[in-house]
C-alpha cells in the first residue's frame, strides 16, 4: 500500500489539476454531462457504505441483537439520492436485507450500524457528537470532522481513511484487511 503514495503525489497531482481544468470547461458547456461525471463517484461511495459491513464487527448487544433489516442511515443532506437505493437493492448483510434511512438529525438510539454524516462541517460535527460512543460505523466525506471512515478521492478513485481509535471508542472492531486497504489509519490508542 505504501508504495502507491509517492506515485500519487507527483504525477497524480498534475493529472488531477489537468482534469480539473478540463472539467471546468466541460461544466460550463454541458452541465448535464458534468452531472453524469460526478455520479459514478457517488455510486462507488454508496456501494462502499454497505461493503464496509463484512469487515466490521459490532458489539453483540448493539441495537438489541441482529434481528431486522440492516439499516444504513444518511443524516443531514443526502448527497446520494437514488444512487444509494439502487446500490443496496438486493444486497444483504449476514442474511439481513439492507434498508436506507434518511433522517435530518442524528438519533443515538436509532438502529443504525452504518451512519453517513452529510451536510456541512457544522452539521457533521453535530451528528458525530450525538452518536459518539454508540456502536455505529460513522462515515464522513472529508468535510470538517471525520468519522470512523472518511472518504477521499485520489486520482479519480474513491479511497478511505480509517480512524481505528474512534472505532474502538464506539466498540467496533475493524478487520485488519480493511485497515490494510485504507489510505491512512488513525491507530487505536493502547488500552490504559
Amino acid at each position: 500500500m505504501a508504495s502507491r503514495r509517492p506515485d500519487f503525489s507527483h504525477r497524480g497531482a498534475q493529472r488531477r489539476r489537468g482534469a480539473a481544468i478540463v472539467s471546468t470547461i466541460v461544466l460550463m458547456l454541458f452541465a448535464r454531462v458534468a452531472d453524469a461525471q460526478v455520479a459514478p463517484e457517488w455510486a462507488v461511495k454508496a456501494s462502499f457504505l454497505y461493503k464496509f459491513a463484512p469487515f466490521v464487527t459490532w458489539p453483540a448487544d448493539a441495537f438489541g441483537g441482529s434481528d431486522g433489516p440492516f439499516a444504513i442511515c444518511v443524516v443531514g443532506d443526502d448527497p446520494f439520492g437514488a444512487v444509494l437505493d439502487q446500490a443496496v437493492m438486493g444486497q444483504s448483510i449476514g442474511g439481513r436485507p439492507i434498508v436506507v434511512r434518511r433522517m435530518a438529525k442524528a438519533d443515538r438510539t436509532a438502529p443504525c450500524p452504518v451512519l453517513y454524516a452529510g451536510g456541512g462541517a457544522a452539521q457533521v460535527k453535530e451528528t458525530l457528537q450525538v452518536v459518539d460512543g454508540a456502536p455505529i460505523l460513522t462515515v464522513t466525506d472529508g468535510a470538517g470532522p471525520t468519522g470512523v471512515v472518511d472518504f477521499v478521492v485520489e486520482d479519480g478513485q474513491v479511497h478511505f481513511r480509517l480512524d481505528d481509535d474512534a472505532a474502538a471508542r464506539n466498540g467496533l472492531v475493524i478487520s485488519s484487511k480493511l485497515l490494510g486497504l485504507a489510505v491512512s489509519v488513525n491507530r487505536r490508542k493502547a488500552a490504559p
Binding site: 462507488v44 459491513a53 469487515f55 478487520s175 484487511k177 480493511l178 486497504l181
Partner: protein, 575 residues
Amino acid sequence: MRRLLDALTQWRPVLVAASVAAFVGLSLFVAAYGERQYEALATASANAQARVLAETVTAALSFDDRQALRELVRALEANTEVDAVGVYDERGRLAASYERGPPSSEFSQALTRKAAPGRIVVTTPVAQAGQRLGTVYLRYRSEPALRRASRYVGPVLLVVMALLMFSVMTLDARALGRTNRSLKTQMAERQKAEAALRQSQKMEAIGRLTGGIAHDFNNMLAIVLGSLDLLNRRYADADPKMLRLIQQAMEGGKRAAALTARLLAFSRLQPLKPSSADIGKAVVEMTELLRRTLDESVAIEAVTIGGLWRAHIDLPQLETAIVNLAINARDAMPGGGKLTIESANAFLDRVYADQDGEVTPGPYIMVSVSDTGTGIAPEILDQVFEPFFTTKPTGMGTGLGLSQVHGFIKQSGGHVRIHSAVGVGTTVKLYLPRSLAEAGPTVLSAIGPEGGVRRGITVLLVEDEAGVREFAAEALSDLGFDVLAAEGAARALDLLDRSPEVGLLLTDVVMPEANGRDLADEALRRRPDLRVVFMTGYTQDAIVHHGVVDPGARLVTKPFTLATLSAELDAALAG
C-alpha cells in the same frame, strides 16, 4: 514333495505368466496410487493456496482496489507451482489475474469451463463474515514430464527386473529340463552299453579260458593223433584187429580235435585265412550239401541277389558256421519246416552301429539263416552265443555251434544278429565284411605224401614241448626228411651254425625263450636262403595277429596230420 514339484513343473508356464501379470498389475496399481496420491496432495496444496489468497483479497476485491489486487495476486508468483491465478468479483467479472508464460484467454471462461484432464484447478469463494464477495481461481502448473516419469521409474524398474528374473528363471528351468532329459537318455544308453560290455567281457573271459584249455588239448591231441598216425604207417602189416583199434582211437582223437577247433573258433583264437569269397556261390553249394545232410521234412531255399559283393572271409569256417546254424534250425523244427538261407548286400549305418557298440558302420554281405521252428525265449536270447549253452538234451549238443558262429564272425570283423519269436522261428543274420579285392584264381596245390622216399633235406625242428617234438621228428622222418631237433632258440641257432645242410626251419611259435618269430628272423639273417614253416595251435602270438596269419608266413596248425605237414613243407620248399 515330489508330487508338488511335478505339479510345479507341469504348471510352470501358467505360474510364470500369472506371476508376471501379478507383478505388472501391482506395479500399475502402485503407479496409479502414486499418481492419485500426488494429485490429492497437489490439489490440497492448491486449495490451501487459493484459500489463503481468498482470505487476503477480500477487502481489495470488495472495494475494487485493482492495484492492491494485482499486488496480492502477483505475490503468488513466488510459488513456482502456481501457473495461473484469477480473482473474480461477486458478479463473476475478472478483477485481477496472473499467468505464468504466454497469456491465454482462459480466464474469460475459467469459472464455468471444466479443467482439462491432468491439470489441477481449484476455485475458492471469497467471503467476508459470510458475505460472498467473489471467487478465486487457481491453476497449478502441470507437472513436468520428467518429474512425472521419475515417479514411474520405480514401478517400471520393478517390472523390468521381474520380467528379467522370470525370463532367466524360465530359461534356466528349460535348460535344466533339457539337460535332465539328455542325462536320462545318456544314462539309458550307458546302461545299455555297460550291459553290452559286460556281455562281451564275459564272452571274452570264457573265450580266453576255453582257448587256453583248447591250446593245451591241441598239444596233447597232436601227440596222440600223431603217434597213432605213425603207428598206423609203420606197422601197416600188423594184426588187423589192432589196426582197427588204432583207427578207432584216431577217430576219437579227430573228434576231440574238431571240438577244440570249435572252442578255438569261439575264442576267436583259431587261425583264419580270409580271402575274397563269392558268398552266393558258396551258399548255393552249401544248400546242396545240406539237402543231403538234413531230413527230408526240412525244405531248404537259398535266396540271393545279383551283384552280391564279395566277402573277405575264411570260406571253410563260414561253411562250418552255416552248417552249425542249419543243424540248430533242423533241431528247432522236429516236425519239419522251412530253412531259408538268404544272402544280400547290406550297409550298416551309424544309427545301427550306435545301437550296438561292437559294430563298425560300413558295407557288409548279409547271410541270414531262418527257420520256422520253435523259436528262442527272449530271456535266454542273450545267452545263446555263450559256449556250452544249449537247450538240447544232455549228450545231444555241445553248446558250441553258435559259439563258433559268433567267435568266427567277430574274429572276421563281422557281426551277428539273432532275431527270434517263440512259435514263429529264428533268424540268425551274419554280416560279413566286404572284400574290395577282385576275384582271383584259386590255387590249390594238392601234394600227396611221399612216404618212404628220402628227400636229402635236413629240417631243423624247434619245439619246446618234448612230446610234440618227438612226434614231429618221427613224422618228418617218415616224410623222408632228415631231422635236427632243438628244444629252444639258442640251441637251434647253434645247430644251424654248425649244420650247413639245414634247408628248412620248422619252429613252434610260442616258446619260453625267444619266440619262433624272432628265431626265424635271426635264422634268416644268418641264412637268407633258409625256408621257414611255423607250427602253432594258438593264434594270439607273434605270427598270427588277431587271428590273421602274416602274409607270406607258412603255418601248420596243431594238431596236424602227416598230410597237412607234408603239404605245408612242400609248399615252403617250392615257394
